[in-house]
Subunit: 301 residues, 2 copies
């Protein structure tokens, strides 16, 4: 899993800080999560091969998470895209995008498929043989979902040398990866464990933005490899976090601790603070493995 | 008149070239003309005091001229704007903006007033004691207007020294500026021309983007101080200009010549060309005073 932060600042885009968008690369998929204004420029700036995007997940319909979507969709059209594009987001997103395309007589030539969300319970919205994506209902001023990306257990790792030595025909290799014992060319049954190793443990990434402090999510995200949790404010502005239904860095740390996640990534910083280091410090008082999102940063999870 | 180019490239925003937006400062007004994605960042980058914007003119509803508008409107709200904001643009613009604000429960606190356009004849859409703004109907794939900004004749310039010498009371100075003869403190009639000078000749700016070659505009824009005319293509791609209803640099030069304008500013360049110098060269074959728009360039007209 590779996570590229395209933007991690709250509210409005500035020349040196971009609103929320990130790209998650996992098992051959390239997912875009949120799409604030200017995201297509960030995709180019950080050299993401964005023609590979097939699925875009939008948490909620505040501008700093979604005003870049229509531009990206239009650019795909100008670039001659043919592949399907799936958009997952709150009910209403389809009308907002299609109205703008219609006004410019700019309907896409490629299939643009909307999956509108309105459930307040977690829902599996993507599922294939490699991973699932599930919504994480959050608590914000408008209907908002986080997203939980969870790899499935992969195939067993074949020790090709050992399999050769055991005189197993290559046509059986796929069966070995699936965990079966197989016969070798002499008709002898070879125990699977002697020629394969356990697969890598599946990884998981939980994206939680925007949200008030909301411990209800803990059970769903417990033990994830990495948690991105918004931290718009520091504790000194806790009253603003309550008022605007955002979180403080301290609250993000508390969620990470309760959920016993592997790593906490902070982001969605308010523009009022000079240094971001205080966000890390504050969350670190409750949880040890805290890192700061920054525009352009790449995390290997 | 001061014109700041925020973006002058066609199609999609890139890290080094922005879609169309410009700011015209004239007689105390600050007007925004078009608003492609990322315009609010450009306003900050070039240090335009954009809280002073009261009137935004949108030529047409293609993304590279309008996808930045909703973000700018939202930012004004976040900044606590109270002043009225007037939006002039094609019918449909109001629905597109309000739907997005509604989905984010982000209606503005300040008065947001839409002036939707649908006439195919020139219309005066702004008029005060200092200037008028008139639409210039253009020929593009969707309903499109250029805009003609025309100063009114200003007050006469008072020669304060001469007026003092002629013993005119200061309470008459405003009347002098308006062109009246006045009596001095001794009751003697002082001819206006002896203590005032003609005002500066009024200036005018015509913005024409996007459009196919469309000589119908010539009579309306003749003799303007400065003409911004789109030049998406070079003559070698004339067939593409015809197909997409854009202009070549040569055609922009032809319009400037026919209209006998003071200066031609080219912009809206396609991204396919390396150097922009060929645009200038090509238009210069037909018209002498050609300059190239570039992001961040400021023209004192």
């Amino acid at each position: 899993m590779k996570l590229t932060i395209l933007g991690c600042h709250s509210a409005t885009p500035r020349w040196d800080s971009n609103p929320t968008a990130q790209v998650l690369e996992v098992r051959g998929h390239l997912f875009l999560i949120d799409c604030g204004e200017g995201t297509q420029v960030q995709l180019r700036r950080f050299k993401v091969k964005f023609s590979r995007l097939r699925h875009i997940f939008i948490s909620h319909l505040h501008g700093d998470h979604f005003f870049g979507l229509v531009g990206l969709i239009s650019t795909f059209r100008l670039l001659g895209r043919e592949a399907e594009l799936h958009i997952y987001g709150p009910k209403g997103i389809k009308d907002a995008i299609l109205l703008q395309l219609k006004l410019g007589k700019s309907y896409t030539n490629y299939p643009l498929l909307f999956h509108e969300l309105e459930s307040t319970d977690p829902q599996v919205i993507f599922d294939d043989d490699k991973l699932t994506v599930t919504t994480i209902p959050l608590d914000h001023r408008v209907y908002t979902n986080g997203f939980l990306f969870r790899e499935k257990i992969g195939e067993r790792k074949l020790d090709v040398k050992a399999a050769g030595k055991a005189r197993i025909d290559v046509s059986y290799y796929q069966k070995l990866k699936q965990g079966f014992d197989v016969e070798n060319v002499e008709g002898k049954l070879i125990p699977n464990a002697t020629v394969t190793q356990d697969p890598d443990p599946p990884k998981s990434y939980a994206y939680c933005s925007d949200t008030a402090y909301f411990p209800e999510i803990v059970s769903q995200i417990s033990n994830v490899t990495s948690l991105y949790h918004e931290a718009t404010f520091l504790d000194e502005h806790h009253h603003l976090a309550v008022k605007t239904k955002h979180s403080t860095a301290k609250e993000a740390g508390a969620i990470a601790k309760k959920a016993a996640v592997g790593q906490l990534i902070l982001g969605h910083y308010s523009g009022r603070y000079g240094s971001l280091e205080n966000f890390r410090k504050e969350a670190s008082e409750l949880f040890t493995n805290v890192v700061l999102a920054e525009d352009g940063k790449v995390f290997d999870l």
